[in-house]
Symmetry: C2
Subunit: 478 residues, 2 copies
């Protein structure tokens, strides 16, 4: 047991130093390595496999909803970026500039895309003529670059991977429907696949995306009580369409501007998985997203028949779950720790005695419950357990989130909670940016969203006492 112990001890406990705990998991679960480029990460095979599973789910759902994938250039000429005023103001301070190609200086510098609205608009203006061409439901999977001062793997990196959807529609109603449809899809991804409960709502004017009419968000709560913006969906109205001249002739032959949306989720979701589900033994992955759902650890594998049986089981389980057999010469206890660190949902142990008794030992990563199961029952029992893990992980995360969600009706209460109880704080707001800024200054929290599910906590804005317009989720955020 000595070795195992050591392996576990190498991780900082969550309660001791949450940031260090996070970094430890990221490294020890082999999700990421640091690169020689400041702020850029290397996504290692295990981390990338999680991203691939997110992609697989989202890509097939987006296609079912009629979206098509495209690929836009990674460069944006400076003049193109400047076409929409609010947008360039929002992004110019954080873009990387290419100034030289080969040995020559460029006549116009190019920014590495921080997001691609301008490129999509430029393209749409060229290819759209009539109402027959609408809607266009385009998406792309790529990386984007935002020059960040402080970075953390997955949560905030100079370069990150994402999908960015950019759609155009004939009417404002259709654009709004699309914006919400995608927000719901993101919530579905988080809750049903990643087992991360989210609050759906709208961002305030202050927090919305540069150039958007309205930004919608899903907000999740991490183990340390900090919020994480986990996906956003923007309705641009016809702002970009006017700036870029994206017009179509309607059924009467009249020229109209299109209505536009954009939306994205990023590798940041992997950070959410760590901080919502992880514990002091490492990562904990919901079965639906886990690259390996069942890890088989043979016991006394040098004994006759053990590896053969383990291989046979692997082949059987491979028909209904993502399974791996670790037949390396490490000690079983060492393997237990390794796969706990990597958050594999279910461990199957099989040794000489188990074989004698026609049974295996199943150990859940989430609850550590151990169960002895007949070898004849694996096809029934393993899918049941995996489903149960998936459901109870969402359940636990929701319970924790609810426990860390507070209500404030006075500024004193507000400040007291913010100082002492990390989590979401629900409080009423008048809708004025001045109050939002004052709350940030005095209480130290930002508005996360105006949730779709509004509650009436009081008649008055918690800050100025004037008539309240919205209940808002507030919090400290990543």
């Amino acid at each position: 047991m000595a070795k195992e112990k050591k392996f576990v001890e190498a991780i900082t406990a969550m309660d001791v130093d949450f940031a260090q705990w996070y970094t430890d998991i990221v490294k020890k679960a082999e999700l990421v390595d640091y690169s020689s480029v400041k702020g850029c990460m290397i996504i290692r095979p295990y981390g990338y496999a999680i991203w691939e599973n997110i992609q697989k789910y989202l890509d097939s759902r987006l296609k079912e909803l009629g979206h098509e994938n495209v690929y836009m250039p990674m460069f944006i000429p400076e003049s193109l970026l400047q076409k929409e005023k609010d947008h360039v103001e929002g992004f110019a301070p954080e873009v990387a500039w290419v100034t030289h190609g080969g040995h020559e200086e460029l006549t116009e510098r190019l920014c590495v895309r921080p997001t691609s609205e301008t490129l999509f608009c430029d393209h749409y203006a060229k290819i759209v003529q009539s109402y027959n061409d609408l809607p266009k439901l385009y998406n792309q999977w790529c990386s984007v670059v935002r020059w960040e001062k402080t970075t953390r793997p997955f949560l905030r990196t100079t370069e990150f991977l994402w999908q960015e959807g950019h759609t155009i529609h004939a009417t404002a109603e259709e654009a709004q429907e699309e914006t919400i449809r995608i927000l719901n899809l993101y919530a579905e991804l988080c809750e049903n696949v990643l087992a991360i409960p989210v609050i759906k709502g709208q961002k305030t004017e202050k927090e919305k995306f540069a150039g958007a009419h309205a930004t919608y968000t899903i907000e999740s709560l991490m183990h340390d009580g900090k919020a994480l913006q986990s996906g956003t969906s923007h309705n641009f109205g016809d702002g970009f369409a006017r700036a870029f001249g994206i017009q179509y002739s309607d059924k009467t032959g009249k020229q109209q501007y299109v209505h536009q949306t954009s939306w994205g989720v990023t590798t940041r979701l992997i950070g959410a998985l760590i901080m919502v589900h992880g514990d002091d033994s490492g990562l904990k992955l919901p079965p639906k997203i886990a690259p390996t759902q069942v890890i088989i650890v043979p016991i006394a594998q040098h004994k006759e028949g053990v590896l053969e049986k383990a291989t046979e089981l692997k082949n059987r389980i491979g028909n209904f779950a993502r399974v791996k057999l670790d037949s390396s010469d490490k000690m079983p206890g060492w393997k237990f720790n390794e796969y706990e660190m990597k958050g594999v949902p279910l461990r199957l142990e099989v040794g000489p005695k188990d074989i004698e008794n026609n049974q295996v030992v199943l150990v859940r990563r989430d609850t550590r419950e151990k169960e002895i199961v007949s070898m004849n029952e694996l096809e029934n029992r393993i899918p049941q357990i995996l489903e149960d893990i998936q459901n109870s992980m969402l359940e636990s995360a929701r319970k924790l989130r609810d426990e860390k969600t507070y209500t404030a009706v006075t500024m004193e209460e507000f400040k007291d909670i913010a100082d002492n109880k990390p989590g979401f704080i629900k409080a009423m707001w008048c809708g004025e940016t001045a109050c939002e800024e004052k709350i940030k200054e005095v209480v130290g929290v930002t508005s996360r969203c105006m949730p779709f599910e509004q509650e009436h906590l009081s008649d008055k804005c918690i800050c100025c006492g004037k008539e309240a317009k919205h209940m808002v989720y507030w919090g400290k955020a990543y």
Copy 2:
């Protein structure tokens, strides 16, 4: 018919102007649009769907062979790029440089990756300790940037999409096996999926990759007789390992350098599909790679029951093929032209008379053969036809390639063929770069490869008359 005619006439004939024919197809089949960034293309949904099918096939085959996907940063610090001398010399003239992040000038400029050997090496040096850690079989899907003066969609663009595999092995033998294994996989992709016959062989010293010990290539021949390098696989020996200090302790505890490979195919393959299979009506896609394999065009679709039947057929065919129904209000003839332009392998026409007779009309894109098939037979007949199209497209491409492959034993013959008969020219070579350079100067062709299947055409080098070492495929290349 007038409209159809017009649609077809909009394409330049292949024999009139091959380059323009190519550009016309790229635009009219909606594969690509030009972007506002010089030399960068927008890959439109139809073009991207072809790339996704290439990815799907190759990614699953690579995973079967034990490869894992990762993601490296898109930036390489200048100092890192310079670590391997030959490599930096090869790439420095054609990289894009980032010099500013936000409003600040960087202390060290970053190049946008033209290829990622240096990043993989840097990472491998950190994560590899012992023979237990080997091999590492990593791959990544990404875009790379090479600053090109003259660009053409898919064939040569400033930014392009590819996969780049980077593997490290304990022994030189294993690295060589991997290099060849991947070359064979690429050949399999081209021949079995894209229906493009290839010549497998080794590049000469002059033509090999910057920093490689040996470069292997698959070379295909386009309709105009020009060659296209369609995929390369490099064995680096331990050159990069020494430059980057990638060492492992072997079973005896001795420090050893790893042996390394890298390999890639790009969106250029889409250019090959166009130029190998296309004709004056447009693109011609092999069924295995076609985003849509069967297009249903209803005839007299306003008549009762036609669209219902067409939808019913679509649902049935959807169980075994990628099928679309075009129920837009365009004329059938217009639709015929559109899907010929897009190269959909099989067209299904169904109208009132067909319904009366319980039949459909099937029209092949490759041969234009028309066949009347009972509706009861679709499950049998359509897969047969698709398979036959796949096979006969490879057959035709091979026939054309063979017809355009010539043999020369004297310089006069060599020059005569090169001037008058575009295609591959087989000729003997002594192995000296001087002769290769002279051939380029005098005959105007470059060495494409030294094929694995050698033939003995003569004892002497076609250029200097000294002892011949290799038979070489020569040609003009994209």
